[in-house]
């Protein structure tokens, strides 16, 4: 009966091995159509402090912000980012923020504070003019201008060339324009505000 005991033991080990691979299997089954981008651009959430250290100190990783976000824009650094893993971010190339403010209201900590719509600072859109279709005379577009939730104060058309978009000072960097931009290389993207030093009104940089 030695052999039977040995077989039963091996069965036990097989069960152990099968169970330890269970999470991976479930994970694969539950993967939705959204593809994770390895080099996703990570925007801070609306209402978050500019200093990422301050945000990481206040955030307790509960995930409530993602559970109330209507367009499913808020995602997490699930296994990368080292000590800052589990922090939420918005990847505008996948889904932009619609500035509904639900995440700011639900956050139980100081990580997100309720901020008026035009005071939100997630960054600022920047258009690369030698790629954008209307700016290189490859047709007409205007997708970014028509989607912008802040309207005329944030983005508009250059006078005289009505389909050439440029970013104004009111832009809060929600990233909806990045999401809808039809160009494969996304000539519009979100950058930090200080980098360009936006003055009032139009600038050449945008």
């Amino acid at each position: 009966m030695e052999r039977r005991a040995w077989l039963r033991q091996m069965l036990g080990y097989a069960v152990l091995a099968a169970l330890s691979s269970l999470p991976f299997g479930i994970g694969r089954l539950l993967v939705t159509s959204r593809q994770e981008q390895r080099h996703a651009q990570k925007l801070r959430l609306p209402g978050a402090p500019k200093d990422k250290r301050k945000f990481a100190a206040a955030c307790i990783g509960c995930g409530l912000c993602a559970q109330v976000c209507p367009p499913k824009a808020i995602v997490f650094s699930k296994s990368d980012d080292g000590a800052w893993q589990q922090l939420p971010y918005i990847d505008p190339q996948q889904t932009g923020c619609i500035l509904c403010g639900k995440c700011m209201e639900v956050c139980p900590t100081e990580a997100l504070t309720v901020t008026p719509l035009r005071k939100i600072d997630m960054g600022r859109a920047k258009i690369t003019r030698n790629v954008c279709y209307p700016w290189v005379d490859r047709g007409i577009c205007g997708a970014c201008v028509s989607i912008c939730p802040l309207g005329d104060s944030a983005i508009g058309f250059k006078q005289g060339n009505i389909y050439r978009p440029y970013v104004k000072a009111g832009c809060v960097g929600c990233g909806l324009c990045v999401e809808v931009c039809p160009h494969p290389y996304k000539p519009i993207r979100i950058i930090e505000r200080e980098v360009t030093g936006v003055k009032n009104g139009a600038t050449n940089a945008g």
Binding site: R34, G63, Q67, Q85
Partner: protein, 345 residues
């Protein structure tokens, strides 16, 4: 009978509570998905799987609300931070960790933690036994460990030092202060369960937390029985400290105890009800009350454990060492012995 029969059933009730909490953690992300689909007005563009989720959400929420997009916000979160029908609740460990990491006392979070702290002061470590979604998995894992043992796999049941978890709590708080990050959000199993289920269902795929959780499962299986909860869990450490002078605790009646030691064997936390050592670690799970053949264990309102009462009066040890006249064999005890000796187990 001295014991209310209801107390014998509490262990089943506990399993119902654990299963309910766990299924809520599964349900809430699906309801969130349903909310996003409703908000997008895009039923026709959903995939067949997403249509199933939509119909499920409609089926669950339609009896209660006609406005799922807004009304379902009343049911959010995990056991770490949750909103239960409009009532915001927070884990006491969340409040402690947030205060340590941000080095500021943020009172809204502490108000959310007030009800759990109050309940812990009265019921002790009840969260660990009755609500924790990780306990649900750990207990199933423990049952599987017993089964594996039968098959011949050497499942280890080592005993380690219980004060390790207080060390983990202290080190976690110190790291939170030094690094400025909530360290407990990487290692606290109930939080990991809630968050990883949410990731898997709404965003697709598990995160790094699930790897850690599987490691704790293997630790329980291969090193110590319920080892993480007993020896390492920082939340368990905090609740143990808060529940040191808890009001409601399981106590032994030595007069009707027969020293069978089933309570010691069934206790997953490795405590010793037979020698009246429940200590602050007891999570009031009532498994010992259920298993006791003479109903000698029951809940009592005390703020401290009774000191050791000696061997049970119905056991052999007591009869052998009893001196005449010291503890008289009164009629009541004999009657109890007759009534409980037969018909149970």
């Amino acid at each position: 009978m001295t014991v209310i029969p209801l107390q014998k059933k509490l262990n089943y009730l506990r399993w119902v509570a654990l299963a309910t909490v766990f299924s809520m953690l599964l349900l809430i992300p699906f309801l969130y998905l349903y909310q996003t689909f409703v908000a997008a007005h895009a039923y026709d563009y959903l995939s067949s799987y997403e249509k199933l989720v939509y119909k499920f959400g409609e089926f669950v929420s339609s009896p209660f609300t006609s406005d799922p997009k807004e009304a379902l916000d009343a049911l959010k979160g995990t056991t770490w931070i949750g909103r239960l029908f409009g009532l915001d609740l927070a884990d006491p460990l969340a409040a402690v960790a947030n205060t340590a990491a941000s080095k500021r006392f943020y009172w809204p979070l502490w108000t959310m933690a007030l009800i759990p702290i109050g309940l812990t002061l009265v019921f002790g470590r009840f969260f660990c036994g009755w609500l924790c979604p990780a306990t649900f998995i750990y207990e199933l894992n423990d049952n599987m460990g017993a089964w594996l043992r039968k098959l011949g796999v050497p499942v280890s049941r080592r005993r380690l030092n219980r004060s390790m978890k207080y060390f983990v709590l202290a080190v976690g708080i110190a790291w939170s202060v030094l690094m400025g990050v909530t360290v407990f959000s990487w290692i606290y199993p109930p939080l990991l369960i809630g968050r990883e289920l949410n990731y898997a269902i709404t965003l697709g795929g598990f995160g790094a937390g699930m790897v850690f959780f599987v490691l704790t499962l293997l630790f329980d299986l291969l090193v110590a029985r319920r080892g993480f909860c007993r020896y390492l869990c920082p939340g368990g450490a905090l609740y143990s400290l808060l529940g040191h002078f808890r009001l409601l605790r399981v106590q032994r009646k030595a007069e009707i105890c027969n020293d069978c030691a089933k309570c010691n064997a069934v206790c997953q936390f490795g405590l010793s009800p037979l020698t009246d050592r429940f200590t602050q670690e007891c999570n009031n799970c009532t498994a010992c009350i259920q298993v006791c053949p003479t109903d000698a264990l029951s809940f009592a309102l005390r703020i401290q454990d009774q000191p050791y009462q000696g061997p049970g009066h119905l056991g052999r040890h007591y009869a052998r060492h009893r001196h005449d006249g010291e503890v008289p064999e009164d009629g009541k005890t004999a009657q109890l012995a007759a009534s409980t000796g037969s018909g149970r187990i």
